[in-house]
Symmetry: C2
Subunit: 189 residues, 2 copies
């Protein structure tokens, strides 16, 4: 039985914008749809309950692969590095929501747009291992976004990260993104 991805159970991750946290918020840019309130810092919590008053709180879970093939997963696994690298003191949290039209598409239609026409995995792979990332799902939790993607990289790679995002945002897939916020962070000293 082929198996290229590690065994894991879903983890709920909570991102809280507020006055304090292990990440300093450098900027919040609204790319599409409604913005979110300003905040000075971000706290990231794993599998824990709400922790009091914050400017905003976004929760989402890691999950199984939704579009990635075994061959693509093996390629990504070979190239990527994990979160928490000492040099990766910059991060980005990018919440996005896709349109009802996207979610009404069947699996093969979404895969076709995602990879065969938009090259989502292929583009992202070109920035490995410099840009590490973890995808979290939240549409099924009734949250205001569908996905929260977390990226970590060294400051000298931020221009490459911006280049990757500009290619993604120009793709056919992004025509289905109706809300997107780009939050840039640096690790608190």
């Amino acid at each position: 039985m082929p198996s290229t991805t590690p065994l894991k159970t879903p983890d709920l991750v909570t991102f809280e914008g507020g006055d304090e946290g292990e990440w300093v918020i450098r900027s919040i840019k609204t790319c599409a749809g409604e913005s979110i309130p300003a905040a000075a810092a971000l706290r990231v919590g794993m599998n824990k309950a709400d922790s009091g008053a914050v400017a905003w709180r976004l929760s989402a879970f890691t999950s199984n692969l939704r579009y990635t093939t075994a061959q693509e997963a093996a390629m990504l696994t070979a190239k990527q590095e994990g979160l928490g690298r000492p040099e990766a003191v910059y991060a980005a949290l990018i919440p996005i929501r896709k349109s009802p039209q996207w979610w009404a598409l069947a699996q093969d239609e979404r895969r076709e747009i995602y990879e065969e026409r938009s090259r989502h995995t292929t583009i992202g792979a070109g920035y490995l291992p410099q840009i590490a990332r973890r995808l979290h799902h939240c549409r099924d939790l009734g949250e205001p976004f569908d996905f929260l993607t977390w990226f970590e990289f060294a400051p000298e790679h931020e221009s490459e990260f911006d280049h990757m995002l500009s290619r993604m945002r120009a793709s056919e897939e992004w025509q289905y993104v109706d809300r997107e916020v780009d939050i840039r962070l640096s690790r608190s000293l």
Copy 2:
């Protein structure tokens, strides 16, 4: 842009086994793994909060298609009938959990097992429109099962329903099912 399925947002559905409810529990059969406590009746709630003491409570959400292609979705839409038909006074609630090995597979590997080798959609379609069903997802909620499938049918079609289940359970896909409970119900008078 092709679109064969209706636009919808996820709905959280709660199934509560207890003393009262709009469905009488006729039987609870454990097919794999741990059982669930006995209960006399089932209450089905849409998008509502917990409602007090019950023998068990299972929650799950409807979601977008995960394996179904546009062509398959169009075929199913043409053949199927909805829930709530007056003659469909029998129902079944079948919670299942799949193994970590299943969830570690990539999307193309799971699709291959699900349809090309196990004919899940093809088998199910053969029992439409008599057997109406709605799939609910719950793995990502940290629930004890991964899926809750709800079926409704007229009493004279229960033997066909059993035949469908026996074919599903003999499939390669079902080798990845490590917990399954089969709850049969009839509408309360």
